[in-house]
């Protein structure tokens, strides 16, 4: 066990996988000499050289398309897209390329690439640098989408993602990079597709992703003071989704709050609500509550941005409302 920042845990995962497998290489904007704007790739160009750690031009569209075919022809690229807001530029490569080939080429290709990016608000970065477009990504068949919330999961899931033969979009959060946590030593792998129960509870289930997990844990503390026992489930993997974990928890609590930092309408929280409708309708004593960003652009000014973001208070309020 070692205490590490989330960014350091990611860096360790990249270093270990690159050392173990010469076909793993990294590319992205400012990830080499500078070590990445969030310092996740620090020191890797020095260690592995300029062929395996590449600074790129600002060309997200082609970079993503290149990751797809590089992955089909013998390498395991790890591409960094600086902000999740730029994901639209990667979407043709994801929706019209990465998504289709395994199936339409009759299972004859593997596509082991990882697209790392980071999203989310709270840092005053404005309408074009603060979004979580989780839903657009999780909508795409044939790719995985994961979003660890702790340093240990960041490391273990990034290693699993690099070894996965399907494309994996790996969602980080700008406000998680400096969060510290214990990370087990050695070659830890956290399988993709498994949720983690962070807090057991019996009255209401809080299902959250990425930084919203931190808020859900805080909300559980607040609810405890209200005399309510909340279960907190870190979904970790948006696609594939661990629906069994969801159903098991709801079968116990009969009340659910789903939390995601994306917009509400057609957002990832909508799928969680619909999934619960599909698989656990009869267990519900109240409608699933969605806690999300309101459906509007993210403003710059601090009081505006802060008022808009989902947080522990809003989760608590939603939980209380479902229990009324």
């Amino acid at each position: 066990m070692a205490l590490m920042r989330y960014a350091e845990a990611l860096n360790a995962a990249l270093r270990e996988e690159m050392a173990a497998d010469p076909s793993v290489f990294l590319f992205g904007e400012d990830i080499g000499r500078y070590g990445g704007v969030f310092k996740v790739t620090k020191g890797l160009m020095e260690e592995f050289g300029e062929s395996r750690v590449r600074d790129t031009p600002i060309s997200e569209q082609a970079m993503t398309a290149m990751a797809v075919t590089a992955a089909m022809t013998g390498t395991r690229p790890v591409l960094e897209i600086m902000y999740a807001d730029f994901i639209p530029l990667s979407l043709d490569a994801l929706v019209n390329q990465a998504s289709i080939y395994n199936y339409i080429w009759d299972g004859k290709v593997k596509m082991p690439f990882v697209l790392r990016t980071q999203g989310g608000g709270g840092s005053g970065a404005g309408a074009q640098h603060s979004k979580a477009l989780d839903s657009m990504l999780a909508h795409i068949p044939g790719i995985k989408v994961v979003a660890p919330s702790t340093p240990a999961d960041a490391k273990g899931m990034l290693k699993a993602a690099i070894r996965d033969d399907q494309p994996v979009v790996f969602l980080e959060h700008k406000l998680l990079y400096n969060v510290r946590g214990e990370v087990p030593d050695g070659d830890i792998i956290v399988p993709l597709g498994k949720a983690a129960t962070l807090r057991e509870g019996k009255d209401v289930s809080l299902f959250a992703t990425s930084k919203m997990v931190v808020e859900a844990v805080k909300a559980a503390d607040l609810l405890q003071a209200d005399g309510i026992s909340a279960e907190v489930i870190d979904l970790r993997s948006l696609r594939p989704l661990d629906v069994n974990a969801i159903v098991t928890s709801i079968s116990k609590t009969h009340h659910a709050v789903v939390v995601n930092e994306g917009w509400r309408f057609c957002g990832y929280a909508a799928e969680l609500s619909a999934t619960i409708m599909d698989f656990a309708f009869d267990e519900l004593d109240a409608p699933v509550a969605r806690v999300t960003l309101p459906d509007m652009p993210i403003p710059y000014s601090e009081p505006l941005e802060i008022a808009m973001l989902p947080n522990a208070d809003k989760i608590r309020a939603a939980a209380l409302a479902t229990l009324k």
Binding site: P22, S23, F25, S51, R52, R54, T56, P57, S59, Q61, A62, M63, A65, M66, A67, V68, T69, A70, A71, M72, T73, G74, T75, P77, D92, A93, N96, Q97, I100, Y101, N102, Y103, I104, W105, D106, G107, K108, V109, A138, P141, G142, Q166, L192, G193, K194, S237, R239, P240, L241, D242, V243, N244, F279
Partner: protein, 323 residues
């Protein structure tokens, strides 16, 4: 002359061009009978580009192509039957009927693959070249793309990166004078698109795309250069699409004079004329008969092959356990 195909190589190119022509004409006939499904994009008149360009490649090299890729599929070594069976959605198709004619691939043969998102084949080849460079492989990637595709943003991004990193990729521009229905001058701000290569510090050359030998020489030299690690280059092949954009085409935008002028310069005729210097007529007739017979047989077999059966693709399941 360096990079000139040998007589055997040229004859083989001629044979493959003929097969593709018969393939295209066969598809045209079946379309008229209502026996095709979805749009089919024929490359009649452009065969020299796809066939001669891929003729310079080695087995381990890789190629991407467009929605109009039949010549590339055959040129890079795919058999007729799986290509035709794929075009007709058969279980025996190269991709079990899932891909259809625009997206055919044969990973082992290095055809990876057709692409119906215009422009997408350009970064696709570039990404394979990146993979080759990272792994230190002695191969090259090739991209056959259209004059319409050259206007896409992704073309610019991919060419800049290819040049910047000296990736082993050859960009073969199949300039057939048209996008979908609009002529090139309605789409491109410049006539000779390869002048843009200078904007990436890449060499380029313009060739008669209907002359298989000219295509072979120019592309061959560029591929050798790329293989030596000297970076990418572009060959602009001037050619012409003799048929409509696709089988759904209602025509009317290509002039008769233009079509006639290009028909007079049919790549099959140009190659046959050149070959008569070294190959006797009987041999040519034999090759021609064989090409026709092979295509006929492939059509007959493919058309009697079974259709596939649908099954959900579990690899796409959004839940981590089956439900």
């Amino acid at each position: 002359m360096k990079n000139t195909p040998s007589v055997e190589e040229h004859l083989e190119i001629y044979r493959k061009m003929l097969m593709v022509r018969h393939l295209e004409e066969g598809l045209g006939a079946l379309h008229k009978e209502g026996r095709t499904r979805g749009p089919i994009h024929r490359c009649d008149g452009q065969e020299a580009v796809g066939i001669a360009a891929t003729a310079v490649l080695e087995a381990g090299d890789k190629v991407t192509t467009t929605h109009r890729g039949h010549a590339v599929y055959i040129g890079k070594g795919m058999e007729l039957r799986p290509v035709i069976a794929e075009i007709f959605g058969r279980e025996t198709g190269a991709c079990a009927g899932r891909a259809g004619h625009m997206l055919v691939a044969d990973v082992e043969k290095g055809v990876i693959g057709g692409n119906a998102i215009v422009g997408a084949g350009i970064p696709a080849a570039t990404g394979m070249a990146l993979s080759m460079q990272v792994m230190g492989q002695p191969n090259v990637a090739m991209c056959v793309f259209g004059d319409g595709a050259a206007q896409t943003g992704i073309c610019h991004e991919a060419m800049n990166m290819a040049a910047l990193w000296k990736l082993p990729v050859v960009f073969v521009l199949e300039h057939n004078q048209f996008g979908l229905t609009v002529p090139s001058d309605v789409q491109s701000s410049v006539k000779d698109i390869s002048i843009r290569a200078a904007g990436y510090g890449m060499p380029s050359e313009i060739v008669d795309g209907n002359d298989a030998v000219a295509v072979y020489r120019a592309v061959g030299a560029m591929a050798e250069r790329a293989r030596r690690g000297e970076g990418p280059g572009m060959i602009e092949c001037k050619t012409y699409r003799l048929e409509g954009f696709s089988t759904s085409d209602m025509g009317g935008y290509q002039t008769k004079e233009e079509i006639a002028a290009w028909k007079a310069r049919d790549p099959l005729k140009i190659s046959r004329d050149a070959l008569t210097a070294d190959v006797d007529e009987a041999k040519l007739v034999e090759v021609e008969a064989k090409a026709k017979a092979d295509v006929d047989e492939a059509f007959a077999t493919a058309l009697s092959d079974p259709m596939p059966q649908f099954a959900i693709d579990e690899a796409c399941n959004p839940y981590s356990e089956a439900h």
